[in-house]
């Protein structure tokens, strides 16, 4: 009776026990998840609700397009800079502005630094506590931890004394009775599988990573003046090089960038990746859960142009495309301008369209809030007990590619690049699967998603080196330009222009669509990675990536949502991004 099959082929059962998790913590922004459990505590229905909205698209109307990057950058401070980049690209596209090679290199470097820092922080500070039992680390033998560490990595901070120090600190912390951010959590749950030594190692690296991430973002500080929220500019970058002057970026700062790149590579390859593998080896059953859309529909726009202003896929360090129905033999081209390809639906979102059975391409997009709970929701307007997913139920819109719900993010990028035969990425993926003794299909899972992010973090750290060296070569050849101001003045612009800027952000495919009329923003629409992944249902009944991924997962204890957290966290949700 309560069982249905969705258009994208997932079985839903709305019977059984309904469990609500609100707030989902250790994410950016405000997310609510509701699931239905069957008698075996297996998730049979999942509902993802984005519970915040700020209205950036409304706020941008009528403003100077050159200012838009600053507004959109404030969509998110976690993936800081990605919206700013999408925005300047959209405006440059609309006005036909070509950016200098150095600006392209700097933008690539800043985005790669963003990947490296964002992925690292996600793994250790937002995701690790789903797998790592902090309290169990107290029982560890520091000597054994040291041996474990030395067996998997040559990272120098590995002495027994070092781990004993962290353990002692942790002990005092726990004994103080003030558990801080570790209060009321699920320590001791049978769902935690790591031995105490591995837990102690991971907790130690939690602190080390918290310290190290500060270094990576200094690349933003040098080129953009600060982090979070560095500065950008339409036409290039606001920074200049002064190699024979005093006043702008010189050899000292270039050396600092270079040193940060080296240290990032070391940290990721010697701490993050070994930890990831060690933790994964204890949780291989998580290659069976959380696959959701990943085995079916994946998408990436492709990003990191080698040469400036060329958007063809073979110019991308990270090539894009779409995979449909798990057919890796065919990578479809994605055209962000085609009104038939990318569309957003609001039938189940708290927005209004004149005709909600249809989707709108972002250039025709509308953002008009319409908060209303469905007739079957429980509670009151200001005290919601249960959401009614048959009605409108989220501030996240539902973007679709040719009508398909898609998963985006590191896993999608990796599968697309793998399917395209990208050598570097194939090598990385095959290596990891070989080390863990897992088949390729293991990627389509919660663990696969988490692993892909780790591999990408290593890829981005190494790629920074390549981009940096290319930039130095360009400087050496005498090109020091960082911005093109030919079309800076509004009186040089056409009366009517449309543009699109896309970025592969840490969490996936990001696009900004702008319409400029009489030098002002006429309309602005952002379709964001987490908009794709956290999307609610569409009029055809397709469920989104979070909802699909949660299905079929058994929970150890219905009152402790660890399994829900694991899968949802594997996407690295950002709700401020998703709803904007």
């Amino acid at each position: 009776m309560t069982e249905t099959v969705t258009a994208n082929g997932f079985k839903l059962d709305t019977g059984g026990q309904r469990v609500v998790v609100d707030p989902i913590c250790r994410i950016e922004g405000h997310l609510r998840i509701e699931v239905n459990l069957d008698d075996e505590n297996v998730i049979r229905n999942a509902v993802s609700t984005g519970t915040m909205w700020r209205g950036l698209e409304v706020i941008l109307k009528g403003r100077d397009p050159r200012d838009a990057w600053a507004f959109t950058e404030r969509i998110c401070g976690v993936c800081t800079g990605v919206h700013a980049l999408a925005s300047v690209r959209a405006v440059e596209d609309a006005l036909g502005i070509q950016i200098p090679e150095n600006a392209n290199h700097i933008r690539n470097l800043m985005m790669l630094a963003q990947y490296t820092q964002d992925h690292l922080v996600h793994f250790y500070h937002l995701h690790a506590l789903d797998w790592v039992d902090v309290v169990s680390a107290l029982k560890a033998d520091p000597k054994a931890t040291s041996a474990l560490q030395q067996s998997i990595s040559k990272w120098p901070k590995s002495s027994p004394g070092y781990f004993r120090g962290t353990q002692a600190r942790l002990k005092r912390f726990v004994e103080s009775g003030q558990l801080g951010p570790f209060s009321n959590a699920y320590w001791g749950s049978p769902a935690y599988k790591l031995p105490p030594e591995a837990n102690l190692m991971a907790v130690t690296h939690y602190l080390e990573a918290l310290d190290f991430q500060r270094e990576i973002v200094k690349i933003h500080t040098i080129f953009g003046g600060r982090n979070p929220h560095p500065n950008w500019v339409v036409g290039g970058m606001p920074c200049s090089f002064s190699l024979n002057e005093t006043g702008a970026i010189n050899m000292e700062w270039l050396n600092l960038v270079s040193s940060i790149i080296d240290r990032s590579i070391d940290f990721v390859d010697q701490v993050y990746i070994p930890d990831l593998k060690a933790i994964a080896s204890f949780y291989t059953e998580w290659t069976n859960y959380g696959g959701g859309l990943s085995g079916k529909n994946l998408m990436s726009y492709g990003d990191f142009p080698r040469v400036a202003n060329d958007w063809s896929q073979d110019n991308m360090y990270l090539p894009g495309g779409a995979i449909i129905n798990g057919d890796l033999s065919k990578v479809h081209e994605v055209d962000v301008r085609d009104p038939e390809q990318i569309q957003e639906f609001v039938a189940h979102s708290w927005y209004k369209y004149p005709d909600e059975s249809k989707g709108l391409h972002p250039w025709d997009g509308i953002t008009e809030p319409d908060f209303e709970l469905g007739p079957n929701s429980k509670g009151t307007k200001t005290d919601i007990k249960e959401i009614d997913e048959d009605a409108k139920y989220s501030f996240v819109k539902a973007p679709r590619w040719r009508g398909n719900a898609m998963e985006v993010g590191p896993l999608a990028r990796y599968v697309v690049a793998y399917a395209r035969g990208d050598k570097e990425i194939k090598e990385q993926v095959d290596g990891l699967l070989h080390d863990l003794g897992l088949p390729l299909t293991a990627l389509f899972s919660t663990l696969g998603r988490t692993a892909a992010r780790g591999l990408e973090c290593s890829w981005s750290a190494h790629k920074m080196r390549e981009v940096f060296d290319n930039m130095l070569a360009n400087l050496k050849a005498g090109d020091t330009a960082t911005s093109n101001m030919d079309l800076w003045e509004p009186n040089t612009w056409p009366a009517d222009a449309k543009g699109v800027g896309h970025v592969e952000a840490p969490r996936g495919s990001l696009g900004h669509w702008v319409h400029i009329k009489d030098t002002k923003i006429e309309s602005y629409q952002a379709v964001v990675p987490t908009t794709w992944n956290a999307s609610p249902r569409d009029p055809a009944g397709n469920i989104g990536a979070y909802e699909a991924a949660l299905l079929g997962t058994p929970m150890a204890n219905a009152q402790q949502p660890l399994e829900i957290l694991r899968t949802v966290h594997s996407f690295d949700p950002c709700l401020a991004c998703a709803t904007h």
Partner: protein, 363 residues
Amino acid sequence: MGIQQTFYEAMREHGITRRSFLKFCSLTAAGLGLGPEFAGKIAYALETKPRTPVIWLHGLECTCCSESFIRSGHPLAADVILSMISLDYDDTLMAAAGYQAEEILEQTIAKYDGNFILACEGNPPLNEDGMYCIQGGKPYVEKLRRMASHCKAIIAWGSCASWGCVQAAKPNPTRATPIHKVITDKPVIKVPGCPPIAEVMTGVITYMLTFDRFPELDRQGRPKMFYSQRNHDKCYRRANFDAGQFVERFDDEGARKGYCLYKMGCKGPTTHNACSTVEWNGGLSWPVKSGHGCLGCSEDNFWDRGSFYSAVTDLNVVGQVESRADKIGAVLAGAAVVGVAAHAAASVISHTKDNNKGGDSHD
């Protein structure tokens, strides 16, 4: 309840000697602009006090204030969280979720009524009965009010909590409202910036912990130690400003020479912040040093002043239509000149007519 660990004990556990602990205290004193006699006081405070509970709430925001906070190098964010304060609730970092997370709020009220600090990132929207920011099924503003009524003081992190920030920019569709306009019966310490500098954030907290009092605030509720001067007052490009040497275009000759960014719209002259003194990310740089003007991100309503790239900005008199003083003024002055000229011409005609009538010009 377990043994409460003081900051000093925590540092000792961390392998820090008494000598370097005292050195830390005198550095802290110096960093806060205080004389060496304060170092002893700091040491005493850190040796004897249990960690103060901090409840960190998130409303409508972008979480960049949290991101900035974890960039703090001195003190390290990890040391603040593990040794100086007890960060008992923070949805971005806490391990628990769902009702286990929300339970902590009531536990805190029961245990520390009137004794915890409420750190607010972001702000509550008031439209749609507050339902543009829902937490635990309820409007965020309810949670904010409940916690505020039991806290000791509020720190308003960033421009969102202090002023409203980007979501409150016109037309402010959700009626996002800064903290001090919702909570009027508790001290609110504003730490504006979009985001604020990491070391400013940890500096404000450590000041409160070490001196056991609120930092002195300026007229607008900001700690004087970080906000009493404008970026312009301490800008290293000030010599170029005074000389009249300006960047006219990004990446021009002046940009490469590091000239003043005033003509590129730098808001340093009207922005109270510590960027030009403390600088960002461990004192490495700040917007002006990278070549972009200051956006004025720590100032009230910096979003609605018109283009970030002009020195003269909007008066905000006619909605979203551009309303710069120099443009309106030039039109008004032009109209006055034209009006005067027309009137003069009319006067001459009328005067001549009168005179021709027989000179009875004033009858």
